[in-house]
Amino acid sequence: MPLEPDRLVAMYRALAGSRLAEEAITDLNKQGVLRGHHSGLGHEAIGVAVGSAVRDDDCVQPSHRSGMMLAHARGGYSLREAVLSQFGKAPSAFGLGEGRPRTLTIVGLVGTWVPMSVGVAMADRLKGKDTVTVTFFGDGAANEGAVHEAMNFAGARRLPIVFLLENNGYAVSMPVSEATAAPDFAARAAGYGMPGVLVDGHDTIAMYEVVEEAIDRARRGQGPTLIEARILRWEAHAHGIADVRDEEELAAARRTDCVRNLRESLLAQGILSEEQAAAIEAECRAEIDAAVEEGRKPGPAPEAPPPLTADEAWRLTYAD
């Protein structure tokens, strides 16, 4: 079923907004105002596609790359919040709680979180719910044993889960071509008895369709899917870490552009006009600029979660 024009425009809004927010945050890191960001530039289509395809009661496990665009595209996580969260003035997209679409918190060890998300899918199934879990991880994390165990377990029990592998060509300095001899990661799915789909992660619509199909399949009780989304990372692994790529390779990465792709496609189809596109971008930019200004001002934002106190941290160690 082709996407309705207004869904497509909404996706474009989420995509363009995510790009602009990522740009702003990446710049603030380069300026030294913020530090440590894992830039998601180049990854936007993935988070937006998944965010647009899942229901609020589906569960999503973000990785360190696409968490922000995912939360934004799911709705309820504004660009303002996305920016303010970087200043510690709004909830982090990587651990959204109460009153938000269902999100699992990120764990600091890559791959380690994947079995946990399989457990969530299993709990949902045992409870008779028709919800689906989507769990993100990167090409690097894919080589962790925990991911293997989790995918095999999910396949064996036909659990309602989608494994979303973001292959951005590198794990820090390690190129995929040296990290594995597999032609693609989607090929691993056969070893777990699930479909493996390779998709161009710069193509938002293709991404959306693949994700939607995998989610439907899972919801119908037909088990998991492994989706490998290929993109290229625009920035270094994280702020503060040098990039091992040479200028040529970096420039080639930056020539791929999911935002331009969707924009041109919607313009060509007449779903979006140049004016509309410009207006959307201007609105997003205004929201982001205001948020940056707000973020840079000293003092907490009123709606920020109160910072963790020593005493609260201590009490949080154990549940009652």
Binding site: G95, G97, E98, L104, T105, V107, G108, L109, T112, W113, V114, P115, M116, S117, V118, G119, V120, A121, M122, A123, D124, L126, K127, G145, A146, H148, E149, A150, N152, F153, A156, P305, L308, E312, A313, L316, T317, Y318, A319, D320
Partner: protein, 332 residues
């Protein structure tokens, strides 16, 4: 009343808690149709079916992680490690995810998970696996005692096994539950049919005494009791204290006993260096400082892998080790 083996007490606790609370489920290797290698899960599969008694592929990290996810969604999974030694494969899931999830989510998620671990050496030879060598005989409790967010339990009798496992299942935190596999088929106790709960965090005086306190866990409790019985005939009065829960530790009970007798021996089956006996010794040496008449002595395993077969005895503390330690602290 019915005479219950240690392994039967575990089995009873699982049956009772699964009957009481739908959200309790069992997960692990060969726990379903096989009933567990030691038989601890026997009958569960037949009664509760494959959705609550979940056999898994050999993937300790995978199924422990899955259990963590289920626990975060309000279920109460009881994971069986086939042998405690295999928990090393799932170590990351337990220490990275389970222990810190409540903290990381600022209290939004709890992880009411139990990991059952048949540990230690079975020198008796009863049941499955006598002295099974370096990879099937370890006592790894100390690792988990040094990981905030986890609780650690180690029962020495059928009654404690029953009552503590029930408490562990009802607890809202991840609990590492250590079952000494030599006790499975050798320890028996008359237990009431009625509900039997032992709270976490409470030590138990297994034998009161005045001259010396021996703080013992797991299989060491029984050995210490027989030493204490023998020494009584010489007029030496040994108090045997079993902490039962290592985290949270019942410091008050330990310090009170140490203060009373002034002489303390700590014994466990794990190697001495960095073992939980060091923590207990440190607590005693601090809390009972002014009452101590002798240095605290540890009667633990030697710092070496556990050899296969009966050569295991070369590593393990036995009655002779415990007795010698008692006599030593009495001399001082």
């Amino acid at each position: 009343m019915s005479e219950t083996l240690y392994v039967q007490a575990i089995n009873r606790a699982l049956h009772e808690e699964m009957e009481r609370d739908e959200s309790v489920l069992a997960i692990g290797l060969d726990i379903g149709r096989q009933g567990g290698l030691f038989g601890a899960t026997r009958g569960l599969y037949e009664q509760f079916g494959p959705n609550r008694v979940i056999d898994t592929p050999i993937s300790e990290a995978g199924y422990t992680g899955a259990a963590i996810g289920m626990a975060m969604e309000g279920m109460r999974p009881v994971v069986e490690m086939q042998f405690a030694d295999f928990v090393t494969v799932a170590f990351d899931q337990i220490t990275t995810v389970a222990s810190k999830m409540h903290f990381m989510t600022r209290g939004a998620k709890q992880v009411p998970l139990v990991v059952r671990m048949p540990y230690g050496v079975n020198v008796s030879g009863e049941g499955y696996m006598t002295g099974a060598g370096p990879h099937h005989s370890q006592s790894p409790e100390a690792w988990f005692c040094h990981c905030a967010g986890l609780k650690v339990v180690m029962p020495s009798t059928p009654g404690d096994a029953l009552g503590l496992l029930k408490s562990a299942i009802r607890d809202n935190n991840p609990v590492m539950f250590f079952e000494q596999k030599g006790l499975y088929f050798t320890q028996r106790e008359d237990l009431q049919e009625s509900e039997h709960i032992v709270p976490l965090g409470k030590a138990d005086v297994k034998r009161p005494g005045d001259d010396v306190t021996v703080i013992a866990t797991g299989a060491m409790v029984g050995l210490t009791l027989s030493v204490a019985g023998r020494l009584a005939s010489e007029g030496i009065s040994v108090e045997v204290l079993d902490p039962r829960t290592l985290v949270p530790l019942d410091r008050e009970a330990i310090v009170a006993s140490a203060a009373k007798t002034g002489r303390v021996v700590v014994t466990h089956e794990a190697p001495e260096t960095g073992g939980f006996g060091a923590e207990i010794a440190a607590v005693v040496a601090d809390g009972a400082f002014s009452s101590l008449k002798a240095p605290v002595k540890r009667a633990c395993a030697r710092d070496m892998p556990v050899p296969a077969g009966l050569t295991a005895r070369a590593a393990l503390p036995g009655e002779a080790t415990i007795e010698a330690a008692i006599r030593e602290v009495l001399k001082a």
